[in-house]
């Protein structure tokens, strides 16, 4: 085992913000259309979030980042890095971060890049931000995990492929609402899920996505983090995991020794679906909305291909005053306008005029 990753300078989350589109497609709509409701007792989520016809990863990142900046109360000009992790960037070539930075007044003195690692692109952006601030290259960096995921019509993934995510202003520990204790990243070449260039929809290995991919990578990253920090599940108040469905995060929590109480916040997949690169980072915002000073929080992402990033944070007394400066994640969850399959198919460009 290698050692836990820690930056030279103590860093943490100075501000956080979430975003979930307003629209929801009930899983029963998909089940009725493709399977005459045959699977209606075994649906992976209740409903999923659907972006409006004028939304994409850039517009959603802008709102989440605006919320994060409001909570951090940081001058946007002091943000020296903007990294957006997603597998649904609106342009194949032209960084989403350029649009986000311009709108938020971060330009021009910043670096920016799009990060890709399937569903862990968001935590990948956070790792880079921790390193950037942790090395004193900058005082603030903006890391975003956001997706408008697409599933092939009739495919199992269509039930869950959803839209949403979160943004984090990473900065010095003294200003943080949650201080980073350490992180562990773990990857292997595992072709559980992939999308080739120019293809609209991804391919996946059905049952292969479970044990050798999701469970293996998350438990490896988390166990190594535990060992390196000399912690166990009992030391954490809350934990959140990547959530491709309702069951996987609950199962992996149990495997690692967490009880139901520890995952009562942040398990949003049943209500919004799998927000891909947004999923674990969005779950963390729900925990921060509800946490108290001194609480230790674990987040572990999973990205197909495959890998996991695990982080341990300790909440500070700065959290409580910052929470109310932006909408709570639960407010976005509750802002649910139900749509039917027809509207969804048109908005997501599955049918064209």
């Amino acid at each position: 085992m290698s050692s836990v990753m820690k930056p030279a300078r103590k860093v943490g989350i100075v501000g956080y913000g979430s975003y979930i589109p307003a629209y929801r497609l009930p899983a029963t709509e998909i089940s009725d259309l493709w399977r005459d409701g045959q699977d209606k007792l075994f649906l992976p989520v209740k409903q999923k979030s659907v972006p409006g016809k004028d939304e994409d990863t850039a517009t959603m990142s802008i709102e989440a980042a605006k919320n994060a900046i409001n909570r951090a109360q940081v001058d946007p000009k002091k943000i020296r890095a903007v990294w957006v992790g997603s597998e649904s960037h609106p342009y194949a070539v032209k960084p989403t971060g350029t649009i986000v930075s311009q709108v938020l007044g971060i330009v021009p003195d910043t670096v920016s890049a799009d990060m890709e690692f399937a569903c862990k692109a968001g935590t990948e952006a956070m790792q880079a931000a921790f390193a950037f601030v942790g090395s004193h290259m900058a005082d603030y960096a903006l890391a975003i995990g956001m997706d408008t995921a697409q599933g092939r019509p009739g495919d199992a993934l269509e039930y869950t492929a959803a839209a949403g995510g979160a943004a984090y202003i990473i900065g010095p520990a003294e200003e943080s609402v949650a201080i980073l204790e350490g992180s562990y990243s773990y990857i292997t070449d595992t072709p559980d899920f992939f999308r080739r260039a120019y293809q609209h929809y991804p391919e996946h290995g059905n049952r292969f996505t479970g044990d050798p991919a999701y469970f293996k990578h998350i438990t490896s990253a988390v166990k190594n983090l535990f060992e390196g920090l000399n912690l166990t599940a009992d030391d954490f108040k809350y934990a959140v995991f990547h959530q491709p469905n309702t069951k996987f995060p609950q199962k992996v929590a149990k495997m690692l020794g967490f009880n139901k109480d520890q995952i009562r916040y942040g398990l949003l997949a049943p209500h919004v679906g799998n927000t891909y690169a947004g999923a674990s980072v969005l779950g963390l915002t729900d925990i921060l909305d509800n946490a108290d000073a001194g609480d230790r929080v674990l987040i572990a992402s999973f990205g197909s291909g495959a890998g996991s990033d695990a982080f341990s944070f300790v909440v500070t007394d700065k959290l409580k005053e910052s929470v109310g400066r932006a909408p709570l994640t639960q407010q976005y969850v509750d802002r649910a306008i139900k749509i039917n399959y027809g509207k969804y198919a048109r908005w997501r460009k599955k049918i064209l005029k």
Binding site: D54, A58, P327, L328, R335
Partner: protein, 132 residues
């Protein structure tokens, strides 16, 4: 799409940047070179907060070609807090739920895509304010 024009107008579309007359304090959006009130040219950029109330609205069913993807959509006359009335698309609200006088806030959304190969135009729209 006229890319140079899109690029030039980005502060207006992204940040609701208008003009403030330094002689009489009058605000304008879209920005005007000459103050409408006192004819002064002594103006500086001014960013509106993006909060307002709905004065009136209409629904567009027959949209110009480039907005066809978005139709039907609602266009509103919005009274900004700073006292300027502007025109903008409404978003995240169903026709049955729109009410004259409702509180609105600015968000950035896609205005249109210039076909599958062209650039994507982003800009301000207004939605019912998220209370928190």
């Amino acid at each position: 799409m006229d890319i140079p024009r899109y690029w030039r107008l980005k502060n207006q579309r992204y940040r609701l940047q208008g003009k403030k007359c330094l002689d009489c304090g009058n605000l304008s959006f879209p920005p005007r070179l000459v103050c409408r009130k006192c004819k002064s040219r002594n103006c500086e950029p001014y960013e509106f907060k993006g909060m307002g109330t709905l004065y009136s609205y209409t629904t567009i069913f027959q949209a110009p070609d480039r907005f066809d993807q978005m139709a039907p959509y609602m266009v509103g006359l919005i009274d900004l807090e700073e006292g300027v009335r502007i025109t903008a698309q409404l978003t995240d609200v169903l026709p049955d739920d729109v009410q004259i006088g409702m509180k609105l806030e600015m968000v950035i959304r896609q205005i249109y895509e210039d076909g599958p190969k062209g650039p994507i135009l982003y800009g301000y729209k207004f939605r019912p304010v998220l209370k928190f």
